[in-house]
Symmetry: C2
Subunit: 325 residues, 2 copies
């Protein structure tokens, strides 16, 4: 397969016998060109296999018609829903979505923002650990919408953590638990801080004792250490930073012969792929991730200013939580 030169707008213009600018208009402002001329142009373009070059288009107009979605770990199923929702919304707007994986690294995050910046119209950013200052700087050069994080003067879509944590605490209280332990994720995580703050407040209102342990890696591998700490503490209810950690904890508890939920109840956050078929199926706080992804795009594309959108959440009760021993 040899690479063939792509036909350009000029080739099409020559083919039809019009000026290049007319071809350009035929594609970008169809109303401003004679329907018959336009028809001929479209046919010639089709015949030659012409496709507009986005880079060239971007240079002339400043618009790129692409949006970048940056996530810390594309492997984490939590982001699947976000991606799907964003994709659909972007597609509906006739634009293109590119995905970037920042590998949980603020450095990669910064690099992608820098490199992709000039090439996109805006960013949807799930960056729990990037410093505020960097977020603000990015927002200076591109439109930016943050996911599950609030930075003043930057648009954002956040889950309703207050309601979320209240649902978790109410559920545990209704099962007779008098205390809970929170197995925390990374210290810099904005949403992690919200979760803990909400749990603590809700627990106090219920006269429950809430303890925080950690930080632990928010991954399956974080499970063993977290589970051991929880076992040592002897709590009857364990709330995990996210489902990845929760599933890791479940495995370790199983290995250690601790019965779930008879001896200890386990609750996660996110309702990721796998949460309903791990063993036992995990009780977890689900965000409407597809809606959140779509909302972020909607804000980016159509809502100027820096609105904050609150996304609803819902507790999925499964077999990993049960009555207190």
């Amino acid at each position: 397969m040899t690479i063939r030169r792509r036909p350009t707008i000029t080739d099409v213009a020559a083919e039809v016998g019009v000026a290049a600018s007319t071809v350009s208009r035929a594609f970008t402002v169809p109303g401003r060109v004679n329907p018959r001329t336009r028809q001929q142009i479209l046919e010639a373009a089709e015949r030659l296999g012409y496709v507009p070059n986005p880079a060239a288009r971007a240079m002339g107009s400043g618009r790129t018609d692409t949006i970048a979605l940056l996530v810390p770990d594309i492997t984490n199923p939590f982001f699947s829903g976000i991606i799907k929702g964003a994709e659909r919304a972007v597609g509906a707007a006739g634009k293109t979505l590119v995905l970037g994986d920042t590998e949980e690294s603020p450095a990669v995050e910064a690099r992608l923002l820098e490199r992709l910046g000039p090439a996109v119209d805006g960013f949807v950013l799930a960056a729990p650990r990037l410093p505020d200052a960097d977020v603000r700087r990015a927002a200076t050069l591109n439109r930016v919408v943050l996911l599950n994080r609030v930075v003043s003067d930057v648009a954002c879509v956040v889950a309703d953590y207050e309601s979320a944590t209240r649902q978790v605490v109410d559920h545990l209280a209704s099962l007779g638990h008098r205390e809970l332990v929170f197995l925390a994720g990374p210290a810099e995580s904005w949403s992690g801080a919200q979760r803990w703050a909400g749990l603590e407040t809700a627990a106090r209102a219920r006269r429950m004792v809430a303890t925080r342990l950690g930080p632990y890696a928010p991954t399956l591998d974080g499970g063993p250490a977290a589970a051991e700490a929880a076992i040592a503490l002897g709590s009857s209810a364990v709330v995990c930073h996210n489902d990845m950690l929760a599933i890791g904890v479940l495995r370790r508890l199983a290995d250690r012969g601790v019965r779930v939920p008879d001896e200890v109840s386990v609750v996660g956050f996110d309702d990721i792929f796998g949460a309903d078929f791990c063993h036992p199926p995990l009780t977890t706080l689900a965000e409407r991730t597809q809606e959140a992804g779509a909302a972020a795009i909607e804000v980016l594309l159509h809502r100027p200013g820096s609105p904050t959108v609150i996304a609803p959440t819902e507790l999925k009760i499964r077999a990993s939580s049960g009555p207190a021993a």
Copy 2:
């Protein structure tokens, strides 16, 4: 946050008092500019916050330094390893990877190839269902490497399906199974066809009876129909098109009270996230997906021609397979 104009190469040139082309060289061919001049340029660029514009760069040079990886469903954990491997390899080469999700649709696939085509140096393409002709056309305009699929004259990285299917059949034979049923995925799937062909051949060599049922959706939702068909057939061993389907099958079997592996053994392909913590943990054929992803990039970047790279596989034996009843 108001959007500020990005500084250009010209701004930097003016700041230092050199020509724009010198600034360009300072970034692209560092050897061809006086170290002191270069130092000044770099400092000025830093000071002004200058970042090269990839679109403009692409126009001048024809190179974009970005690679696109297109997958049918970014949500499918099978592709996580591919993505990770590709990312690392691309990063190591100092280039940028953009991801595209084709939503299992040949139409979206074609659209992304078209739109992204002029904006990238090449594609790594996991497109099991795109017609051969479209694949070839894409390879005419860009460098293309196919994943788990062979199209003549196009570079590709494929799992060693012959060895893979032999491992599966040998495993089942060693457990005393005399027949197996294959629950097929989409009819157009290239790898699905390979899997069935390999199973059939290996089974014949072992004097086992192999039956194919389907097609079924290669997703959790495909599970119920596939499981029912397998139950009706009364086979002692079920091999599924992929793990998503296999996990769906496991769930249905559990709902129907069929014990795994006592009454029926279940085997999948892919070893996705979740395969080791579903219930029971799934015996499955693992590809070295990270290596495959990295190999695809390596071929794209450094190996001209249309080589075919064979990626090794390995059977992960877990609790879903056991002795024949």
